[in-house]
Amino acid sequence: MLARVTGGIALAVAVLLGLVLMLLVRESWPVLVGGGWTRFFVGDGWFPSSGQFNLLAMLWATLAASLGALLIAVPLGVLSAVFSRFYSPGWLIMPLRRVMVLLAGIPSVVYGLWGLTVLVPLIAGWEPPGASLLSAILILALMILPTIALTSEAALAAVATSNLQGAAALGLSRKGIVLGVALPAARVGILSGALLATMRTLGETMAVLMVAGNVVQTPASLFDPVRVLTANIALEMPYATGDHRAALFASGVLLMLIVTVLAWLAGCVGARSNA
């Protein structure tokens, strides 16, 4: 009975989700079959009006921006979670968490607006044009910091007190307890938080669009303007027709594939560390 009802609901959801995937594939079908998928990785670059659909530069930009954001946000987020679990005076913990929850809910448009009016000019004063891979990385890092901090905090909170007490009873210093026991014990939770964050960085559109400069090129330095795949879709989709539109959908498919691979990898890591 329960199996029937929930199975029915699950099936409905599956159909709905299937429809989304179908739409993606159907819309990108013309270029996928028409021009072959290799055209997304060869050619002079992204000039949709002249039928050039090389996505590689944008792919690298997407990966570079995500990776950079993670490199900044993961250590900072984890350390601030460590702070609130192990170092913070008691009265500070709740306000800190409140701030994090608040920030996790700020719409990306607002981050973008702030980045465009505050961050980009700052960087431009240092090394023009300002709108760059660096600003994208910083804004993305800022956006995912709360996620990482909150999930890490939850993971640290889930570390068995018996482990922490055991460590303390061995005379470990606070540093020893944190680095030796708490963080290793929480690694799976922290990892899955980081994964969530990675997905968000890969899928983020508006904020990056506003600060990254959106020039289609393979980034050679942090100060180069870049265009990520999502920004490309958002910038061009309203004006795209025919093959161009199909190619944009195809880049959506590509993003999805990356995310799938990531999710699968995380699954493997999780399974291994559980065993």
Binding site: L116, V120, P121, P128, P129, L235, E236
Partner: protein, 249 residues
Amino acid sequence: ADAQKLVLTGSSTIAPLALEIGKHFEKLNPGVRVDVQSGGSTRGVIDARVGLADVGMASRALKQEERDLIAHRIAMDGIGIILHQKNPVKSLNDDQIRAIYTGKITNWQQLGGEDRKITVVNKAEGRSTLELFLHHFLLKNPQIRAHVVIGDNQQGIKTVVGNVGAIGYVSIGTAEYEEAHGMPIHLLPMAGVPATVANVRAGRFPLSRPLNLLSKGTPTGLSKRFIEFAQSAAVDDLVTAQYFVPLAR
């Protein structure tokens, strides 16, 4: 759509204006509703063609293959080159602009300014402003060596505001407003013609585009009344309030 409801879709540039015109139209015609949706000029063309929208909006002239629709001009929009206020360069000729945008000139020093790298701000593929700009300067998009690619007007202005070395092109009305409100930008004259709303209206300014409403075939009924209203002098103040250029009548 039913007879008392009018759906407009298309250019995000026109949308705020159309929204205001729609509100006035609703006031004058009780019981009528005007729903405005944005989404881009191409969307306006497609929706008007397949009938999803009663009236489309396009911030450009129709292309050859879009001639199955009829364009009804409701306002003009001039496109002007803007620089940062602190940039001492006060004018550029077409060749210089072409050289900047194609990456042949990369430092303001080469144009008599300070020793500062030029940041070229360009519009994203498909935007009608870009097409207009390319058309005027006889350029192809792949030739352009941009440092920042933007979507909408405001992003362009904010980019130039935040970067002393930047050059961009935006809607003149918008730029005039922002300049008047203390944003550190200035508009360059084009071919000796100062970039002002008045010059655009008078047809003297070389770089301008029409803001069009689109209909499939000759408009009838409510659409016809709305388009006529949108073209009438009654909306001139609305157009001005959105920093566009009213039609010369």
